[in-house]
């Protein structure tokens, strides 16, 4: 499942919603990204996250499908927020469900790596006096 949303999420509920469908799942790996208070040597106040929503849904589906081709996954959720996000707020959630732990770990890392590279989302970081559009490094 792919979700692009403004609103916050509850990690337990998101995982439970997926996990409740499958009794053959032994392993769930989850990644959560948060807004940090300090970046580029400056105190961060908040982020504005811009998104090309329809394309992000398509790109993230593609990344998810590639993960399914490479590992034995039972299910997978990629959730990304957009809009204004303050320090300590959650930005992104990836959840990979598999029978055995190796698949969930590797798929989750793969998805985050490609999300950072290809998903059309942009962070504008606001400091005390200025702001800057960020670019992901490799």
């Amino acid at each position: 499942m792919i979700k692009i949303q403004k609103k916050n999420f509850n990690i337990d509920k998101e995982i439970k919603y997926l996990k409740d469908k499958y009794s053959n799942v032994g392993a769930v790996n989850t990644f959560i990204g948060y807004v940090r208070d300090f970046n580029n040597n400056k105190d961060v106040k908040y982020l504005d996250l811009d998104v090309y929503k329809e394309m992000a849904l398509k790109e993230l589906s593609k990344i998810k499908n590639n993960a399914f081709k490479k590992w034995r996954l039972v299910d997978c959720l990629i959730l990304h927020r957009y809009g204004r996000l303050k320090v300590n707020e959650k930005i992104v959630l990836v959840v990979c469900l598999s029978e055995h732990r190796k698949d969930s770990f590797e798929a989750s890392k793969f998805i985050m790596d490609y999300l950072k590279k290809d998903a059309p989302l942009w962070k504008k970081e606001f400091y005390h006096n200025d702001s800057v559009w960020l670019e992901n490094s490799n």
């Binding site: 996250l49 992104v92 992901n136």
Partner: protein, 81 residues
């Protein structure tokens, strides 16, 4: 044809998209010339080849023909996650 702008491209264009109904650019190179004309501040970025283009939500890395009903998007390197 619709041309969508994202992130700091929007700061230059001051709008989220343009629609072109007549005399639309026939390929990406043509589109770059078109954009340079209406948004001179875009030129330095276009010439440095740092922007990414998508046609109908698929990345294109080389020059590519455009059709009347295409949705084109122009944006800087991504920074989600």
């Amino acid at each position: 044809m619709i041309i969508k702008y994202f992130a700091w491209i929007k700061d230059i264009t001051n709008k989220e998209y343009d629609t072109i109904n007549n005399d639309f650019p026939k390929d990406i190179n043509d589109l770059k010339k078109y954009l340079t004309k209406i948004y001179p501040d875009l030129q330095k970025h276009l010439s440095k080849d740092i922007l990414r283009f998508a046609i109908n939500m698929e990345y294109v890395s080389e020059n590519h023909n455009l059709n009347q009903n295409d949705e084109i998007a122009i944006f800087p390197p991504v920074s989600g996650g």
